[in-house]
Assembly symmetry: C2
Homo-oligomer: 324 residues x 2
């Protein structure tokens, strides 16, 4: 059986899995990121996690054909190098693919984690069988992945689909553009609620969260379900901005399906229904009815599953036709 | 010699040319669109223009390998059908490729005119030799073309890169999103100026244009050069919005080069320098220094030159790798 190792290096967690490229992992091991141990500490932990995952899978390194890594930050995919980490010291310009292929003796490919999650959803999840899929992960930040014909759009080699860094109108009283990530990420939803409460606005949020400082996006959604005015306004601002972000991707890339993963996508109909309606109002009419917006299917192991696909080279290699 | 016919069907003009796929046309014939004659009138006029272009080129139909058409509106490129025209009656769902291949007996391909102009710039103009080029045409409206590895990104088959329909923050006192085309097209620049003058704002524009109703984007640029406050403000709003539009394309698609064509791109340094600075301020830092923003090179015949390339199939055919 042909197997690959998939590794996720996130901001708070690391995971290693062994799989054959389908929806399940034969072995999985997880750990937490210790920022004080730096990049070197994470690499040491990964060596142990891979051993554990192989043991759980009843497999040995000789069965492994390749290794894929989903990294939580920008990556030079052609050279297999990390560009930087926003969470942990010591990653800048680190040759991650080279290190891993020396460590485990198998070919290694590195991609941004959101792109890898999109790859997994396009092959195994909500985008199965589709040619053009745009994946959003809306968690503490916002990442994206554009999967065309089963492979990650590589941009110039430093990734693409950085939708969290696209701009939408300011939701508050300020004018001008603001990054989508600064309005719609779970972190920014919580921040806006906490700010309003600190400014003296009344809301059930304080009670729900047991204080102002502990208010999160999840509390905002639950308070909105109770009809809380502040929470409803923040949710409204969030779906307004996300609808603009999605409409812009639609106009530029014309995907068949938008797949939304990450914590914010676990919100219920008060998030999803207005979002879909607003995108319909903004859509370029020619694309009307040619796309849909659906939740991700694969859950916690999405990045590891996608990294296994990468290790197996299940994404067709990029062909470069000659130019006239 | 292998030749192709290139046809442009625009909102106000139609052109037919004969070429071999380089920067020059061997024969060219032009006409104006008569909206009252409808789509049928345009097709009749095209038959004559093609005859003229062939005669000027000293070529006959037997020398022609294929035909490309750049249409000024949305197109179903897989079926070669026009979806609609915003200018002339009678185009809706018209099988343009079929009609042309029967008319002239050669294989025909149809694309949106902005995408074709992008193809021409990528092969023969400002994007020569580059793998990822994003073309803007900023004229009476705004169109776009995303050229990857020498071919037009087809979207799902109804085109892509509809950047005029992407959203930016409202430039005026209104809140919320507005289409880029409604702020930065030549038409909308002129409209904002005329509106402000009608609202009683003082400006040299009225004098420059010989009246309020005749004020155009070109007058706005010339007045801004004289330091006119209204004109400077409108130019400022325009580069603000266009910088957001470009930054969003950068974040999502990571092109190496933005090529700006159309009338507005003929403006001088008061347009170009602030635009480049603003995009730099908004850019996703990972892409810093990996792209530039330059004027288009090919001029009035861009669409015809690109349509000839299409007729020669100089854009490498799209390959569809099998899925795992």
């Amino acid at each position: 059986m042909t197997l690959a190792i998939g590794i996720e290096i996130g901001g708070t967690k690391i995971q290693a899995g062994v799989g054959a490229g389908d929806e399940t992992l034969m072995g999985l091991a997880r750990g937490a990121v210790d920022p004080s141990a730096g990049a070197e500490g994470i690499r040491g932990a990964l060596v142990e996690l891979v051993d554990k995952a192989l043991a759980k899978a009843g497999a040995k390194l000789g069965d492994v054909q390749g290794l894929g890594i989903g990294f939580g930050g920008p990556v030079d995919t052609r050279r297999g190098r990390v560009l930087r980490s926003f969470h942990v010291e010591g990653w800048s310009d680190f040759p991650l693919a080279k290190w891993a292929s020396q460590q485990w003796g198998v070919p290694t490919w590195v991609e941004n984690d959101a792109s890898i999650a999109g790859l997994a959803e396009a092959h195994l999840g909500a985008g199965k069988g589709l040619e053009r899929v745009f994946y959003f992960t809306i968690g503490s930040g916002i990442g994206g992945g554009f999967i065309v014909d089963g492979r990650i759009d590589p941009g110039q080699g430093l990734g693409s689909a950085e939708v969290g860094h696209s701009y939408v109108p300011h939701p508050g009283k300020q004018r001008g553009p603001v990054k989508l990530e600064h309005v719609c990420s779970g972190w920014s939803i919580g921040r806006r609620a906490r700010q309003a409460l600190q400014d003296g606005e009344r809301s059930v949020l304080t009670e729900l969260a047991g204080g102002i400082e502990t208010v999160t996006a999840e509390h905002v959604y639950r308070a909105a379900e109770k009809g809380d005015a502040l929470a409803c306004r923040i949710l409204e601002e969030t779906t307004d901005a996300l609808a603009v972000g999605i409409s812009n991707v639609l106009a530029l890339l014309d995907p068949q399906r938008f797949i939304l993963g990450g914590g914010v996508s676990l919100m219920g109909p008060l998030f999803w229904e207005p979002l879909r309606q607003k995108v319909r109002r903004l859509e370029f009419p020619v694309y009307s009815g040619t796309y849909d917006i659906v939740p991700a299917m694969l859950g916690e192991q999405t990045v590891v599953l996608g990294a296994v696909l990468l290790g197996l080279r299940r994404d067709p290699p990029r062909r470069r036709p000659s130019r006239s």
